[in-house]
Structure formats: C-alpha cells, structure tokens
Amino acid sequence: MADTLLSIRGLTKAYPGVVANDDVSFEIQKGEIHALLGENGAGKSTLVKMIFGLVKPDRGEMLLDGSAYTPGKPSDARRAGVAMVFQHFSLFEALDVAENVALGMENPPKPRDLARQIREVSETYGLPLDPSRTVGTLSAGERQRVEIIRCLLQHPRLLIMDEPTSVLTPQEVEILFETLAKLKAEGTSILYISHKLEEIRTLCDEATILRLGKNVGTCTPREVTARQMAEMMVGSSFATPEARSAEKGEVLLKCDALSMPAPGAFGTPLREVSLEVRAGEVLGIGGVAGNGQDELLMALSGERLAPKGAIWFKGEDISRAGPMARRDAGLLSGPEERLGHAAAPNMSLTENGVLTASRRKGLVSNGFIDWGKATGFAEEVIERFDVRTPGPGTAARALSGGNLQKYVVGREIQQDPDVFVVNQPTWGVDAAAAAAIRQALLDLAAKGAAIICISQDLDELMEISDRFGALNEGRLSPTRAVSELDIEKIGLMMGGAHDMEVAHVDG
C-alpha cells in the first residue's frame, strides 16, 4: 500500500528464558497516530528498541516506505527518519538544553545556530523552552519538551513516544496533544505507547495490542471502550477498586506550616505545607514531578528531620524523631524510587523485608535476625500481594518493576500502619497490579488507617482519595473533597492557582 510508512512483519526476539516478541506484525500509515498497548513485560519496549535500532531482531523484517529497513544502531534509525522520545528521559542533568539537543543529533549545527533553531521549533509547536537552561533545573514536562524538540529538529517521518504523559499536568498533556496533532497534519506518523486508555481513545487512530510478546489484536480506539482495550491487554477481566465508606475518625497525622530548605542543588524546598489526615481517610497529593513530592515524603518518613512543632502524630510532636522512632509509633512510608530507596537492589526480598519490618514484626531478637520469621514475613507479603517471583530469596533487582512495587508497598501494608505515606504506589505498574495495589490501600484505610498517597497519576488519585491537594513549587494547595473537583480545577491547583479564580493559565 502506498500510504504505509512502516510495515513490520513477523518480528521475533528471544532472550534467554523469555520470548520478548513472538511473530509481531502490524503497519503504521503515513500521518497516523498509532497506539502500542500492553502490560509491563508484554514486549513493547523490545519492539520499539528494534524499530529504533537498539536491539537486533532474531527473525522478521521491517519495511520503511516500501524498502527494507534494518537499523543496526540508533544513528541509522535517525538517518532513516525515525526518532524516539524515551520514557526515562535520556537527558544529562548537568548539561544545558542546547548541549542535550546537540547530543541527540547526527550533524548538529554551530551552537549559536542551534540555539536559534531550538527557539524557532519551540515557538512553532508551542513548546516554550530556553536553550541555555541546565536540564537539572527543568520540570519533567520541560524535560520532555527537550526530548521532543531534539527529535523534531531532525524532521522525522516516524516519531516514537514511550509513555509521554505519565509525568505531565492536564494542561501540559493538552499542549502535547496539540503538538502531536500538528505533526500529524504535517504528515508525520507517530507510534504512541501508553498505559492510559482514555488518552489513547482521544488521540490515536489505530491501536495494536501486545500480550506476552504476541500481537493479540488491532482496533480503532474510538470505537471500543477503555475497558474492552484493557481486557484485551490483560487477557482477563480485573477488579476495579470498590467504593468506601464515608465515616472518618480522629486526626492521626498533622503538618503545621512545615517548611524545609531544598536537600540539594536539584531539590525543591517545602514551603509552609499544612495538612491533616484522619483515620480511615485517603489524602491524595498530586502535582507535577519535582514540585516537592520526594521532599514531603522524606519529611514525613523522618529521613530528613523537620523543625520542631511541624509534624504531629496522634497529638505528639514527632518532628525531630527519626525513621525508626516513627516506624515504632506506627507511621510507615514507601518512597517512589523502588531500586535504591525503597529496596536495596542486590539484597533478597527477605532481607529487604527485615530492613523495614524488623521491629514491628519482631524479626530480630537479641541483635540476631530470626531468619525463619523473616522468611515467613516475606512469604506472607508475596502470597497476599501476588508478587510473581521464584521465592523470597530472589534479589530485589531481579523482579520486574511492577512485582517489586507490589512487594515494597505490600511490605509496609502488612505491618498494619496507623498512617501510611506512599509516593507513586503504581508507577510503571500494569493495570491489573495497579488495581490490586489501590485496593490494598483502600482496604487499609477501611481498617482505620490514614493514608497519604502522593502520585502523578490523577485518575488514580480521583479513584482512591477522599480529599485532594496539589504540590506546586513546594507549596501545598488547600485540600478539597474529591467530590467537589473536576479535571480543570485540579489542573489549576497543580499550576499553583490555589484560589481557583484565575480563568486560565499560560502554557
């Protein structure tokens, strides 16, 4: 067909012990936004890496514009007109925007010309960006713009986007969609990878769904429901979290004008954050990444000590208490970064269990670890949260992201906290596992615990929270009941317009 840009035929790639892609075929038309859907581990990344020349297929062929396309390395792909925006941005924090863009180009122009081109493209496509800023100081949305501009400067015929909206505010998503629509109108094809089904339904023309490395179907997203697509992805139906009761207990955790300086050059200071959360309540905290989420979690968990009188737990000032003391009292937390923060990558699941649960679960006696009990605890968590792993002796880094996430969140929930603070509980987790984690959080709240859930996934926050607040540059907006909110109000809260009287915000 003359209108086909990229045609993939029988692409197969096997790694030791797992077939990542098994005989995958589909076609992308010119000027089409094509969605690639699938759970974690369904083989989306491998497929995209083959198209971008990072991985060589074992079998199968690709045709680009009718002629054979066999990229041996990313520069081949770029030369052929294929560009990619990565999910985990391939940016260098210590370098500035122009340097980052230059690194992603085959033949970059002189620095001065490049800065001018960056400004031009950023104006044409409505993506404001200053070429001389250091990337470490940019928000996630701005970083993504760097990646997109880097691609656009090379006038790609096919633009691959890996989970582009996971870190954006609703307004930023809108800007991105406008940019993509403009590109499409110019005849650029886009391969769009996402978990977010609603978004695919509004944006994409065609969708290819992968499950366990196989192409299980193609559909036109506008004509099917999100639930139908999800079930194609998962291969079975999954439970959505149940609604919860409305009665709330006493205030368990309270922050009183908590202010803290930024922890490092790229951190965010907390500015007079005040919040309270009651027994049985879920407080959702949204905001674009890098607006103080990590810092708030560190302040609440005790990793960084707060000024006296700022944090109250069950009526006692715990501002100067360390993480151990807070755990003993019943305030538990789960940080965002799974490997290296929530879990020690090279240690086994049992050992990782001991690290946070040793005192509450009595896994240590007289200074010695009770390995029997510790293994038992790890097995309980694995069993209850359906962690797919050979056993509790497996190293944390060997688990897939979603499974490890289930383990680190489950590890805390299993300790019956009174207050549980968690950051990004379902980051990078597939739909079924995410639903299970959310249900576990709701169950915990139903048993009378207070939960603070920090997340960038607004749908998730709307689903499980009773009240919602947004962080912007280290300030927390006043919290509101979720039932009073709509997506536009939330966007304004995330943008820092707390009183909601501002009619619109600038891009």
Binding site: Y15, T46, K49, G53, L54, V55, K73, P74, S75, R78, F86, F89, S90, L91, F92, E93, A94, L95, E99, A102, L103, G104, P108, A265
Partner: protein, 302 residues
C-alpha cells in the same frame, strides 16, 4: 634567595603533577575512576629513563614513557570496561603493579645520569629581563603541560567530542540510548590519562631529579588524584592545585636548606597538607560537579 630561580623551579616542580592530573581529569570526566595514577607515573618514569639513556634522546624517552603508560592504563581499561572488574580495586592494583614493575626494570639503571633535555628559549619573550628567565626559558614539556591544560579546557567546553565525553561521564545509560559508544569513549579517555601520567613520570626521572631511584614519584600520583577532585573537575582548578603544590614543595625545600628551626618532618609534609587544605576550602564553597557516572560500571544490557 633568587626569586627568578624560585619561580622557575616551582614550574619545574609542578609540571609532573599537572600532567598527571590533567590526564586523570579527562579520564574521570568520562566516568572512569582510575586510582592507578601513581603506578602509571612510576612506569613512565622508568621507561622514559631507560629509553632516554639507551638512545641518548630525551624526546624518545618522553614518547616511550607516554606509550608505555598508555598501554598499562589500557590493561586497566580492559579489566574494568570489558571484564567489568571493580574500578577502585583494579586501580589500586595498577599502582602496585606499576611500582613493582618499575623497580624490576629500573634496577639496571640506578646511578646513571639522564641525557640533558635542552631548554627551549621562546624568542623575544625570553629576552625580557627577569620575567624572561622566570617564565619563558624552560624545556618544551613545561610549555606542553600548560598547553594541554588550555587544550583540555577548550576540548571539553567547545568541541562535540568533548561534549560526548562529558555526556558519557554524566550518564552512561542515556549516552548509550542515544547511540554513543560508551566503552570506546572511556577506553580513549583512559589511554589519554595514562599517556599524560607517563609524561609526568618521565619528567620526574629525566628533568627534575634527573636519575632513576626506586619509588621516586613519591606519592605525586596520589596528589594528582586529590587535585582533580578538589578542583571540582575543572582544568583551571587543576592548574592552580598543581602549581600550589609545586610552589610549597620548592619553598619548603629551600627552607630546609636554609636550616630553619621548624622540624624537617613538618616541612616535608607541608606541601601535601597545604594543597589539600586550600583545595578543600575552595571546593567547600563552589559546586562539586562530580561526573554523574563516575566509578560506576557500565554494561550495555539488551
């Protein structure tokens, strides 16, 4: 004391450390921590000395020293970049290997004298009274070391190759994702660091002393390493650090010769103490800027 001679001897004293440090700076900017600088320096010292004595040409001696140390550093590169051995342990091993190897090779050369490296008077400039003899009447290696500092600074700041080198050191995963050859860039940086350390070592045995004694670099490689860190990975900071160390070394030697009442031990340790103290104070104020991937092993998986 003659101030002209003092400044001139400070420059001579600082040059070996400056060479080793600027090489190590490039290596570390690419994300590799090579703790074997001392071993590469002493290897350069003995090889440079041996070749210069056998051929009678100091120039060939420097060349041979650079090549020998670069080859030695590539063995470190092979172990750490391809076989993924631990960089700290391998670097320490490299130092021990260099010290042992140099003692073995050098045993036949003890007591001999190196051929003289001619001074290179820069026309016009060297005729300036006082300043001319102070700054512009040295051998070519002194000028080379200063030119290298400027060249490395410009390379890192203005060239695409320098940008790629920094990118590889900053975040090797991202650099790999963009299609850059992380391991190749690092091997080149390691070899450059080795060659520079070799030149520095040869300068000790061919010009500064100039003869061969076992272990004659006496910790200069370690000081070079410290200078790189405390200069916050900036070429001009390295220059300041190396000249400070060279300066204090010369001054304390002069004080010893003059027979002051300060204990000799205290004077001998002063260059190390003062350099590190000054650099700590400098780096305590400014940004640190360690390359993001420094010392982390890289393996291109999938």
């Amino acid at each position: 004391m003659d101030p002209v001679l003092l400044v001139a001897s400070i420059m001579v004293s600082a040059t070996p450390i400056l060479l080793a440090a600027i090489g190590e700076l490039v290596t570390e900017k690419s994300g590799v921590l090579n703790l074997g600088v001392e071993g590469m320096m002493i290897t350069g010292a003995v090889m440079g000395f041996a070749i210069a004595v056998s051929t009678g040409s100091p120039l060939l001696g420097f060349l041979g020293a650079a090549v020998a140390s670069a080859v030695l550093s590539l063995s470190f590169g092979l172990l750490t970049q391809y076989l993924l051995s631990n960089q700290v342990a391998t670097g320490l091993g490299l130092t021990l290997v260099g010290l042992g190897l140099s003692a073995l090779i050098g045993s036949n050369y003890e007591g001999q004298r190196a051929p003289n490296l001619p001074k290179l008077d820069i026309p016009v400039l060297s005729d300036i009274p006082v300043l001319g003899r102070m700054l512009f009447s040295h051998d070519f290696v002194v000028y080379l070391s200063l030119a290298l500092v400027v060249a490395v600074w410009a390379f890192l700041k203005y060239t695409r190759a320098g940008l790629i080198l920094r990118a590889v050191g900053e975040d090797h995963e991202s650099a790999h994702a963009l299609g850059y050859k992380v391991v190749r860039v690092r091997m080149a940086a390691i070899a450059f660091g080795g060659a520079c350390a070799g030149l520095g070592g040869a300068y000790v045995s061919l010009v500064r002393v100039p003869q061969w004694t076992e272990g004659m670099t006496a910790g200069a490689g370690w000081i070079a390493l410290a200078i790189v860190v405390f200069s916050s990975w900036r070429p001009l900071g390295v220059l300041v650090g190396a000249y400070l160390f060279g300066g204090v070394t010369v001054i304390q030697l002069n004080l010893q010769a003059a027979g002051t009442t300060v204990p000799v031990e205290l004077l001998s340790m002063s260059p190390y103490l003062i350099t590190i103290l000054v650099l700590v104070v400098i780096s305590a104020r400014g940004a640190h800027g360690a390359p993001g991937s420094l010392g982390r092993p890289f393996h291109a998986s999938s």
